[in-house]
Amino acid sequence: MKRRLHLQVNGEDYFLDVDSSRLLSDLLRDELGLMGVKIGCGQGECGTCTVLMNGRAVRSCLLLAGQAEGSRIVTIEGLSRNGLDPLQRAFIDHFAVQCGFCTPGMILMAKALLDENPSPTEGQVREALEGTICRCTGYSKIVDAVLAVARVSRNEKGGAG
């Protein structure tokens, strides 16, 4: 039971014949080779499968590919098409990466937060990252990295530093 599916992923348009029961996470990984989308718990509770769908953070392991019909999807690979995204640079600079498994999900959740709220408080950053789990870092440096990007963009706009 295949359906013709159109989606835009990382700026490219795709027209694919896909089984109705195919998961978005599996389509992104297996059909499109985007391994930055990870499968951790498979139940939407760890955040490693996070992608942006029409600008919003979603759990791709809990979406049918068919639910993404006509959507604009961004994976972690999509953030570095023209050099590293400021969040990626900040994660490196602040040592916010150890094993790296949670990193794509963390960065995409942070990106969704900053796109909506460019000047979050630390509490808002922590709240936005709830449900995206890191076993290695203890989260502090991840939070530091996100706040650093927020600070830079605030300074660039000439706001109160």
Binding site: S21, G42, A57, L62, G131
Partner: protein
């Protein structure tokens, strides 16, 4: 997952016909955050999954006369960030805010939450406290069901074959009403092991609690109202001695019917019902529903 066909009808009528045609072999998908888990675990094995996403207008949040109307596909994220909801029925936005994580709330819907009918549904206690109603459409007729008659058991609703939820209607509460939803959970994104919504209207002249509603989640086969606790609170003065709050909390804990499971024991759940009802009451008496810090 067992392979299935995904159908996307373009009208409520078409959707009802498909559901009536396929009966138990079809499942509706809204956001899918509960359904996908059942499918992955093979707890459900439908041959057809029916999405309402192509039907226009189902995600609206509208103010109509003295009611808030929420479409069945409105996401929890839309509800928690809605200026209309925060202004008129903030306790529903509170409940929405406490569901899962942001990523789940971007996709999960209030309509799906109610139709999934988990006893712990965070959408339910605030709506019960507000005397909400749901609109239901079938292949031939449509009807309105008060929410406290909608839940029939764990995972079971009053929906009959071929019927879909078409909306949630909430009478906008009287001015002077105060409400809060509190939940206890093990981790930041867990379901409730106890959920409590309390609403009361303070009569400004006599400063008494009126129109008290106390709704409990995760402590009975369905989300429930604790009418005995409500009776204990009705008419009590919010100034002076608050000893009555303890009776209200105790009545709610006694009326709850929790079970022991991997999240919590019966005893813990009863204790948490009392704790949350007490906490909610103190916050409403002080008119600080979102206060930080410990219990009063």
């Amino acid at each position: 997952m067992r392979p299935f066909e995904l159908l996307k009808p373009e009208s409520i009528g078409e959707c009802c016909s498909l559901l009536a045609e396929h009966g138990d072999r079809a499942k509706l998908i809204a956001g899918g955050t509960d359904l996908l888990i059942f499918l992955k675990k093979r707890l459900l094995r439908p041959s057809h999954v029916i999405s309402m996403s192509r039907i226009p207008g189902l995600d609206e949040i509208r103010e109509v006369q003295n009611c808030i109307h929420i479409g069945p596909l409105a996401t929890f994220r839309a509800i928690e960030t809605s200026e209309k909801m925060r202004r008129t029925v903030p306790v529903v936005a509170d409940g929405a805010h406490q569901v899962g994580s942001v990523a789940i709330r971007n996709v999960a819907t209030l309509g799906g939450n109610l139709c999934n009918a988990a006893p712990s549904a965070d959408g339910a206690p605030p709506l019960l406290a507000l005397d909400a109603r749901v609109g239901v459409a079938g292949p031939v007729t449509s009807r309105i069901i008060p929410l406290d008659q909608f839940f029939r058991g764990p995972g079971e609703t009053a929906l009959e074959r071929g019927e879909v939820l078409t909306g949630i209607d909430i009478p906008i509460p009287l001015s002077g009403s105060r409400a809060v939803y509190l939940k206890v959970r093990r981790t930041a994104t867990d379901i409730a092991l106890v959920g409590v919504a309390v609403l009361l209207v303070v009569d400004p002249e006599h400063r008494r609690a009126g129109h008290v509603r106390i709704a409990l989640g995760a402590v009975a086969p369905t989300p429930m109202r604790s009418r005995r606790a409500e009776d204990c609170a009705e008419g009590m003065s919010i100034d002076g001695d608050r000893g009555w709050v303890e009776e209200v909390a105790r009545a709610a804990a006694e009326e709850a019917q929790p079970i022991s499971d991997h999240r919590a024991s019966v005893e813990y759940r009863r204790a948490m019902v009392a704790f949350l009802v007490r906490e909610a009451m103190h916050r409403l008496i002080e008119d600080k529903p979102n206060c930080e810090g410990g219990p009063a």
